[in-house]
C-alpha cells in the first residue's frame, strides 16, 4: 500500500465524480422543467408549449446521455479502485446503489427512449406521463445515491463484525432515514433545479438579446424563474439543515469549514472571511460576526461547538481506545468461537474506535506498537485541509444567495412587468450560466474533502480503502479517463452550442401559425374593439 496509489486513486475518483456531476444537476432540474412545460401543453393545448418541451428536451437529451455514461464509471470504480472499502462496507453501502438501479434508474432509462421516440406513438397524456416518469426516476436516483453518500458521512445503522472483518447492517431504517442523507438529498436536488433554471434563463436571455424565438424565450423564463426561485430558497434552507446536522455528526468537517481552531464560549462567532493558517492554527485578517456560528450550528445560545484543537485531542484518545480494540480483534481472529468472553467484552467496549487505530497503519504495520509521537501524528491527520474548505464553502454560499436574488428579480419582472427585461439583466443572465456548476462542485468538494482522512467517517481511513494496484495501472486509467472525458466534453459542448444556435426546429410552422392567431386575438381584445367577425382562425382554441 504505497502512498502514491492512495493519492492517485483519490485523484481518479475526484476527477470522475466531479466530471459526472457536471451533467447530473442539469438532468435533475431540466427533466422537471421539461415535464412542467409539457404539462402546460397538455392542459392548454397550445403548440408553443409543445415546441418548448421538444426544444428543451433536445438539450436535455444531449446532456442526459453523458450523465448516464459517466455514471457507469461511478457504479464500478468502487470495486476497481476501492476494493477494501467495497469489502468493508459493501453490506451497507451496496444496498442503496442496487436499489437505485431497481427503483430509479430502470425507470428513467426505460422511459427516456419513449420520451424522444414516442411523440407519434402515444396519446398526449401517455406521453406526459412518460415525461414525468423520466423526471421522477432521475430524482429518485439522486435520493438513493445520497443515502449511500450520507452513510459515508454519518455511518448509522451498522456495526463491525469481527468474524467477517467488515461493517454489517443492523438497521435498514436508520440507514434510510439518516438525517444527513435526507438533508443532503433535498439540498442536492434543489441545487440541480437551480442549475437547470439558470441554464434555461441564460439561453432564453440570449435569444431575447438576439431578438429570436421571443415567445419561447419569455415563457421559458417565466417557468424557470418561478421554479428557480423556489429551488434557490430550498437550497439555502436545506444547506443550513445540513450544517445543523453536521454539528453533531461531522464536527471536524464543520470546524474546518469555519476555521474554528479553538472551542469558543457559546454562542460562537462566525468567521465571515479570513486566511486560515493550518501551521499556526489561526486565521489571519479574520472578520467575525458575533453569535452567528453558535446560532446556525446549534440553534441555541448555550451549546458549545468544539474547535479543531479540542477535536484533535479527542481523536488522540479515540486512537488509544482503538488500539485496545485492535488488540482484542487480533485475539478474536485467532481464537474465533473459543475467544475468552472478557476479550470479547473489551472488544465490544472499544470497537467504535477501531477505525481510529487504522489511522496508524500509515506509520507502522502494527498499531499496538505505536509511539506517542505516531499517535499524535495520526490524530493530526484527522484535520482536513482548512484553507480550501473554508473558501470553497464561502464561494458556494455566496453563489447560493446570489441565485435567490437573481431568481427573485426575474420572477418579479416576468410576473409584474409584462415579461420585459432590461438589457443588462439579460446580459447578466447569459454571463452567469456557468456559476451554478461552480457552486455544485464546491459543495461536493466540501462534503468529500471535508471528510478526509476517512472514506467512511470514523470507520475506515481512505488510505486503507484502496485496491491492491500498482501506480502504473492507475496512471494508465487516469490518462485514459482524462483523454476520453476531455474529448467527450468538447463534443458535448459543441453539440449544445449547435442546437442552441439552431433554436427550436420542430413543429415550427404549426407553432408560428398558432402564435400569429393568438397575438391577433390578444390585440383585438386589448384594443377594446370587439371584433366578433374577425379572422375565424381560432376554432380549436
Amino acid at each position: 500500500m504505497e502512498l502514491d496509489v492512495v493519492e492517485l486513486s483519490r485523484l481518479q475518483f475526484a476527477m470522475t465524480a466531479m466530471y459526472h456531476f457536471l451533467f447530473v444537476p442539469l438532468t435533475l432540474g431540466l427533466s422537471i422543467i421539461v415535464a412542467i412545460m409539457e404539462t402546460v401543453y397538455v392542459m392548454t393545448n397550445r403548440p408553443i408549449w409543445r415546441q418548448m418541451t421538444k426544444f428543451w428536451g433536445t438539450l436535455f437529451g444531449i446532456n442526459f446521455v453523458l450523465g448516464v455514461a459517466t455514471g457507469i464509471t461511478m457504479e464500478f470504480q468502487f470495486g476497481m479502485n476501492w476494493s477494501y472499502y467495497s469489502h468493508y462496507v459493501g453490506d451497507i453501502f451496496g444496498a442503496p446503489l442496487a436499489i437505485e438501479g431497481l427503483m430509479a434508474f430502470f425507470l428513467e432509462a426505460t422511459f427516456v427512449g419513449l420520451f424522444f421516440f414516442g411523440w407519434d406513438k402515444l396519446s398526449k397524456r401517455a406521453h406526459l406521463m412518460v415525461a414525468w416518469l423520466v423526471a421522477i426516476g432521475s430524482n429518485f436516483s439522486a435520493l438513493w445515491i445520497l443515502i449511500a453518500n450520507g452513510w459515508m458521512q454519518n455511518p448509522v445503522g451498522a456495526e463491525f463484525n469481527p468474524v467477517t472483518m467488515r461493517m454489517e447492517m443492523t438497521s435498514f431504517f436508520e440507514v434510510l432515514f439518516n438525517e444527513v442523507a435526507q438533508a443532503k438529498f433535498v439540498h442536492t436536488v434543489s441545487a440541480g433545479y437551480v442549475t437547470a433554471a439558470v441554464f434555461v434563463m441564460g439561453v432564453s436571455a440570449w435569444y431575447l438579446l438576439k431578438g429570436r424565438h421571443i415567445d419561447l424565450a419569455r415563457r421559458s423564463i417565466a417557468v424557470a424563474s418561478s421554479f428557480g426561485l423556489a429551488s434557490a430558497l430550498s437550497v439555502v434552507i436545506l444547506g443550513d439543515e445540513s450544517g445543523y446536522s453536521a454539528t453533531h455528526s461531522q464536527q471536524m468537517k464543520l470546524a474546518a469549514i469555519e476555521a474554528m481552531w479553538h472551542t469558543e464560549e457559546a454562542p460562537a462567532s462566525f468567521t465571515l472571511v479570513g486566511i486560515p493558517d493550518q501551521e499556526a492554527r489561526e486565521t489571519h485578517f479574520a472578520v467575525h460576526i458575533p453569535w452567528a456560528m453558535g446560532l446556525i450550528g446549534t440553534r441555541s445560545l448555550d451549546d458549545e461547538i468544539p474547535g479543531i484543537n479540542e477535536l484533535e485531542a479527542r481523536a488522540n484518545e479515540r486512537i488509544r481506545s482503538g488500539i485496545i480494540a485492535y488488540d482484542a480483534l487480533e485475539t478474536i481472529r485467532v481464537d474465533r468461537e473459543a475467544t475468552d468472553p472478557a476479550v470479547m467484552a473489551t472488544f465490544e467496549e472499544h470497537s467504535a474506535d477501531l477505525g481510529f487505530a487504522f489511522l496508524l497503519l500509515r506509520y507502522l504495520d502494527d498499531p499496538r506498537e505505536a509511539t506517542d509521537e505516531q499517535i499524535a501524528m495520526a490524530a493530526e491527520d484527522t484535520i482536513p485541509g482548512v484553507m480550501p474548505l473554508f473558501w470553497a464553502f464561502r464561494i458556494m454560499v455566496v453563489l447560493g444567495f446570489a441565485f435567490i436574488g437573481m431568481m427573485a428579480y426575474f420572477f418579479y419582472r416576468a410576473s409584474f412587468c409584462g415579461m420585459q427585461f432590461p438589457r443588462w439583466a439579460l446580459i447578466g443572465a447569459v454571463a452567469v450560466i456557468p456559476t451554478p456548476w461552480i457552486a455544485a462542485e464546491m459543495g461536493w468538494f466540501v462534503a468529500e474533502f471535508g471528510r478526509q482522512p476517512w472514506t467512511v467517517d470514523g470507520v475506515l481511513p481512505t488510505a486503507l480503502s484502496v485496491s491492491h494496484l500498482g501506480a502504473t495501472e492507475l496512471l494508465i486509467t487516469i490518462a485514459g479517463f482524462m483523454l476520453f472525458y476531455s474529448v467527450l466534453f468538447v463534443i458535448e459542448m459543441g453539440l449544445m452550442v449547435k442546437y442552441i444556435r439552431k433554436g427550436p426546429y420542430m413543429d415550427v410552422e404549426e407553432t408560428d401559425a398558432w402564435m400569429a392567431r393568438h397575438e391577433h386575438r390578444l390585440r383585438t381584445h386589448d384594443g377594446n374593439v370587439p371584433d366578433v367577425t374577425g379572422p375565424a382562425a381560432t376554432p380549436a382554441e
Binding site: 444531449i62 446521455v65 453523458l66 448516464v68 455514461a69 457507469i72 464509471t73 457504479e75 464500478f76 468502487f78 470495486g79 476497481m80 479502485n81 476494493s83 477494501y84 467495497s86 469489502h87 459493501g90 453490506d91 453501502f93 451496496g94 444496498a95 446503489l97 442496487a98 436499489i99 438501479g101 431497481l102 434508474f105 430502470f106 432509462a109 426505460t110 427516456v112 427512449g113 419513449l114 424522444f116 421516440f117 406513438k121 468474524v163 467477517t164 472483518m165 467488515r166 454489517e168 447492517m169 443492523t170 435498514f172 481472529r333 485496491s467 491492491h468 494496484l469 500498482g470 502504473t472 495501472e473 494508465i476 485514459g480 476520453f484 467527450l488 463534443i491 449547435k498 426546429y505 420542430m506
Partner: protein, 387 residues
C-alpha cells in the same frame, strides 16, 4: 429486527446466487442484442440510411437495457461484496476497457445523427461497433478466466491481493481457453443481434443479418461444444474439502478448498444440471434453423433460450463456487462464504420482489408501444428526430 430470519441464511444465499444469474441473463437477453446490433453495424449497413435503420431498431430501448449491466454491478456490490471487491479490482484494466466501451456507446447512439458530416457519422459507427464487440468478447474472456480461477489471495484481514505484475495480470487473461469462451460469447451475441434485426428491420439489412446470424450461430454451437470438451480434458476444477457450513458468517478463509480433476464432476453429483447445456445447444440450433427458415419472433425466442442455457451452464457447473483462486484455493469465493449479511440479503430480496415485476411490466409496455419494423421511410421521414 428478527423478521429477516423468516428465510434462513443459506436459502437466501442460494436465492441471491440465482438472482445473480437472472441479472446476467437479463443483461445478455436485452442489452445483448443492442451490443450485437452495434457489432454487426458495419456488415449489415452499407450506406447511411441502412445503418440508421439498424441503429433505430434499438434506438429507443438500449438505454433501459443497459441498466441491467449497471444493476448487475450494484447487485453484486450489495449481495456479494467480496466478489465485487475482488473481481473488479483484479480484472482492473479489462474492466477499464469495458467501461470505456460502455461510456462511448451511449454517446455514439445519441450524437451520431446530430451532425450531417459523413466523417462524424462514420466515426460514431465505429464507436458503436467497438462498443458492442469489445465488451461481448471481454465478458466471455472473463467467464473463461473465472472457470480457471483468478490469481488472488485474501490476507487475514480479508484484504484482496493479486499476484503478478500488471501486464501479466492483463495479458494473462488472454489465455487460449478464455479466448475460446470469448469467441463463444461474441458469436452468441452477434447471433442474438442478428435475430433482433431480422425481426425489427427489413430489406437488405434484414437479409444480411440473416446470413451472418446463420454463420455466427453455428460458430456459437461449435465453440460451446469445444469449451465443454476443453473443460473435461484440460481444466482443473475446485471442491470444498472441509465440511460445508452454509449458514455461517461470510469469511472465505474459514473453509478449505482443493483442486479437482475437472469441474464436470458436478454432472455426476447433480445429473439434472445437464438440462442447461441442452437448452444452450437446442436454443441456438433452433435459432439457426429459424434464421434459415425465415421465422422472426420464433428465432429471437430460441436465441434467448440458447443464451439462457449457456449462461446457466457456467453457474450450475461451478456451484457453489463463484470465483476460485488459483494461488490460494482457500481464498476462493463461494456461495456459502462471500455474501452480504443475513439482514442485507433479506432486505434486498424484498426490494427486488417489489420492483422486478414492475420493471418487467413497464419494460414490456414500452416494447409493445414500439412494436413493429423500423423501415427506411421511418428513418428518412423523421430524419431530425431519430438516431
Amino acid at each position: 429486527m428478527i423478521l429477516h430470519e423468516l428465510i434462513s441464511y443459506d436459502v437466501l444465499r442460494v436465492i441471491w446466487w440465482a438472482l445473480l444469474g437472472v441479472l446476467l441473463i437479463g443483461f445478455a437477453l436485452t442489452d445483448g442484442f443492442d451490443m450485437g446490433v452495434g457489432a454487426l453495424l458495419p456488415f449489415v449497413g452499407k450506406n447511411d440510411t441502412e445503418r440508421r435503420m439498424a441503429i433505430n431498431t434499438v434506438g429507443p430501448v438500449w438505454e433501459g437495457n443497459q441498466v441491467w449491466f449497471i444493476l448487475g454491478g450494484g447487485a453484486i456490490f450489495a449481495a456479494w461484496p467480496p466478489l465485487y471487491a475482488v473481481s473488479f479490482s483484479g480484472f482492473y484494466l479489462a474492466m477499464f476497457v469495458v467501461l470505456a466501451a460502455f461510456i462511448v456507446r451511449p454517446v455514439a447512439f445519441k450524437y451520431r445523427s446530430k451532425r450531417e458530416s459523413q466523417t462524424w457519422r462514420n466515426a460514431w459507427d465505429w464507436a458503436l461497433f467497438a462498443g458492442g464487440a469489445v465488451p461481448a468478447l471481454i465478458f466471455g474472456v472473463a467467464v473463461g478466466n473465472v472457470l480457471q480461477g483468478a490469481p488472488f489471495h485474501l490476507t487475514e484481514t480479508l484484504y484482496p491481493m493479486y499476484d503478478g505484475a500488471f501486464y501479466s495480470k492483463f495479458l494473462g487473461l488472454l489465455n487460449p481457453f478464455a479466448l475460446l469462451v470469448g469467441v463463444v460469447s461474441l458469436a452468441m451475441l452477434l447471433t442474438h443481434g442478428a435475430a433482433w434485426l431480422v425481426l425489427k428491420s427489413e430489406g437488405n439489412v434484414a437479409r444480411r443479418a440473416r446470413n451472418i446470424g446463420f454463420v455466427t450461430g453455428l460458430i456459437t454451437m461449435v465453440g460451446f461444444a469445444l469449451s465443454g470438451v476443453w473443460l473435461a480434458m484440460g481444466i482443473e476444477g475446485y471442491a470444498l474439502a472441509s465440511e460445508v457450513v452454509s449458514n455461517g458468517p461470510s469469511n472465505p478463509l474459514h473453509s478449505e478448498v482443493v483442486r479437482t480433476d475437472s469441474w464436470l464432476s458436478a454432472y455426476s453429483e447433480r445429473p439434472w444440471i445437464i438440462i442447461a447445456p441442452i437448452f444452450g445447444f437446442l436454443g441456438t440450433a433452433l435459432a439457426v434453423r429459424g434464421l434459415r427458415a425465415g421465422s422472426e419472433v420464433g428465432t429471437l425466442l430460441w436465441s434467448k433460450l440458447g443464451i439462457f442455457g449457456m449462461i446457466s451452464t457456467v453457474g450450475l457447473t461451478m456451484f457453489p463456487f463463484i470465483l476460485p483462486s488459483t494461488v490460494d484455493p482457500n481464498s476462493s469465493l463461494t456461495v456459502w462464504d462471500s455474501s452480504s449479511s443475513h439482514l442485507t440479503l433479506f432486505i434486498m430480496l424484498i426490494v427486488t420482489l417489489i420492483f422486478m415485476p414492475l420493471i418487467l411490466a413497464y419494460t414490456s409496455w414500452v416494447y409493445k408501444v414500439l412494436w413493429g419494423k423500423v423501415t427506411e421511410a421511418d428513418v428518412t421521414a423523421n430524419s431530425d428526430t431519430v438516431y
